[in-house]
Amino acid sequence: MSTGATIHTAAPSVTDAAPLMAFFLVVAATLLLCLLFGADSEGIDDLYAAGRSVRPWRNALAMTGDTITISLLLSCTGLVSVAGYDGTALAVSTIGAYVVLQVLARPLRNTGRFTIGDTLAARFDTRSVRTAAAVICVVVCVPLCVVQLTAAGGASAAMLGLSGTAPAQLCTVFIGGMMVCAAALTGMRGNTLLQVVKTLMVFVCLVALVILLLRSTGWSPVRLLSDAIDRNAGPVGYFAPGRLYGTDLTGRLNLLSVQVTVVLGSAVVPHMIMRVKTAEHGGAARRSIMLATGMVTVFALLAVALGLGAAARSGAQAVGQFDLQSSTAILSLVQDLVAGPAGDLLTALVVSAVFLTSLTVVAALALSAGAALVHDIYVSGLHRGRVLPSTEIKAMRWATPVIGAIAVLLSLLAQNWHIQFLAQFAVSVSASAVLPSLVYALFWKGCTKTGLLWAMYTGLACCVVLQMFGPMVSGRPGALFPSVDFAWFPLATTGLVTIPVGFAAGWIASVRTARSREPDHTARYAAIAARSLLDRPREDRVL
């Protein structure tokens, strides 16, 4: 959840050895887990879907981990403290993503084996559909990887007390290398465990911080709220919309666009869909999502409380002096709230949580992109499925590091560029291309193969064009190319336009090609509809 508002100056530095020691302790533990679970992953079911045996509570924790990306963890608090209402609205939108996923969960789990391409191929098993799904998967995953790695490099360097570009690049390479190990060695089974550990660690950090914060206000949430209002008076009220994007119509539509995109897009990013497929059956997937919804709600409430705390104690202007995107607001709050050994311990915990967050999310993204390339294009597209499982696993062991290396290289090149908009772009593509295709393939009898392809490619093309000519790429100080101006599209996040366009393109193309349907069109829909309701539990190993 990143926005267009970027403020760069020096971040607070930590000179104690505790964060560094904690950092390396977590690295060592992570490597150990990678090696342990690397040996345990045997079949392709293990590699892509953790053997389809993850129980609901663990799956819910892992899903929550997938949702809590480094941008969300670091910028959520900063956005609430700086933007008041707008930040809170974006935090709540993250919970809203699960509204969509709750309805899609059972059919998604019960149809198709591992990837988005598999789910769509259950309805239209053609090379073109699988290729389109794989292309979109890579277009979503690689930019998200780059944003996560860049943010993680900068944040880790700042939290370890290092400043400048070179340490940030070093941290990026280090985290990238670890991510390659985690993704290539452990597969989905190991990633699930790492996500569970990370989610628990994040919750421990946030709960401890909120308890300390409430203690400092005499256990009065009302005082916290009134202090935040009192310290942040301005032309736009702290609890009125408009502090983030402005109060004119464009600003309001911008806020609405971000919310719509987050609600509809975060639910169907490729790594979340792969996560749904690790459940034992459709019912278990739905239960996992119900539990994860509760966990993400708790996370959002904690983040909002910490954001209000930062605004109440330091004031929004002071928080905004740090980098708002890879925000160190949480760290400055730790240093403000508690001193001495307890402060060191908490700082060490926060640093470890940030490191683990970046590692697990990037590994999950690399795994999804690798699965799309290997399973959808190499195995199903090029070889028509006639590939031995051992060959597919070997191909995955190569594909994931290659994707990781590309992402690390791009992150290094983009270290000093304003690329945070790529996260919004990726989620917009999910909402505009993946969501329409999944909804049509799973729930609409009249959908045709051409309609599906039009929904995907039109949604994608629309996102690319509007983003390129939007305010995040040119024409303003925080843009990718601030010195030139070729922007004509006013919205920073394109979802408000591209999502309806994606749905409309799929519908129009399906209606216009209704006469050229395959002879088995109705039978295939009936089969997918029946299969989506058939919960077949897998009764082998349980994670």
Binding site: Y85, T88, A89, A91, V92, I95, G96, Y98, V99, Q102, V103, R106, G237, F239, A240, P241, G242, T247, R252, L253, L255, L256, Q259, V263, H281, G282, G283, R286, R287, I289, M290, T293, G294, T297, A300, L301, F443, A526, A529, A530, S532, L533, L534, D535, R536, P537
Partner: protein
């Protein structure tokens, strides 16, 4: 889609759509005389957001409970698509 699931999905998505639309409308109207009369400095907006945030997990729980029994019998498709409401 199974009739129970379809009905529950309809209710679930409708409730969410109404809630999110209300918040969106309040955001768009913020600062106008109508919104000021209704919500002051949008304190009601914050309240709505909190309610919405809590409504998602609560309605997810309701949706899960309502559709718990809506899958086909495990291991085989005993109910034809036509009979199950498609």
């Amino acid at each position: 889609m199974h009739r129970t699931t379809a009905r529950a999905s309809g209710w679930y998505l409708s409730v969410q759509a109404v809630g999110w639309s209300a918040v969106a409308l309040l955001q768009l109207l913020a600062g106008s005389s109508l919104a000021n009369r209704v919500a002051g400095e949008l304190t009601i907006g914050i309240l709505l957001l909190v309610l919405l945030g809590l409504s998602v997990p609560l309605s997810s729980w309701w949706f899960y409970r309502a559709t718990r029994q809506s899958s086909l019998p495990r291991g085989g498709a005993a109910t034809s698509p036509a009979r199950s409401g498609r």
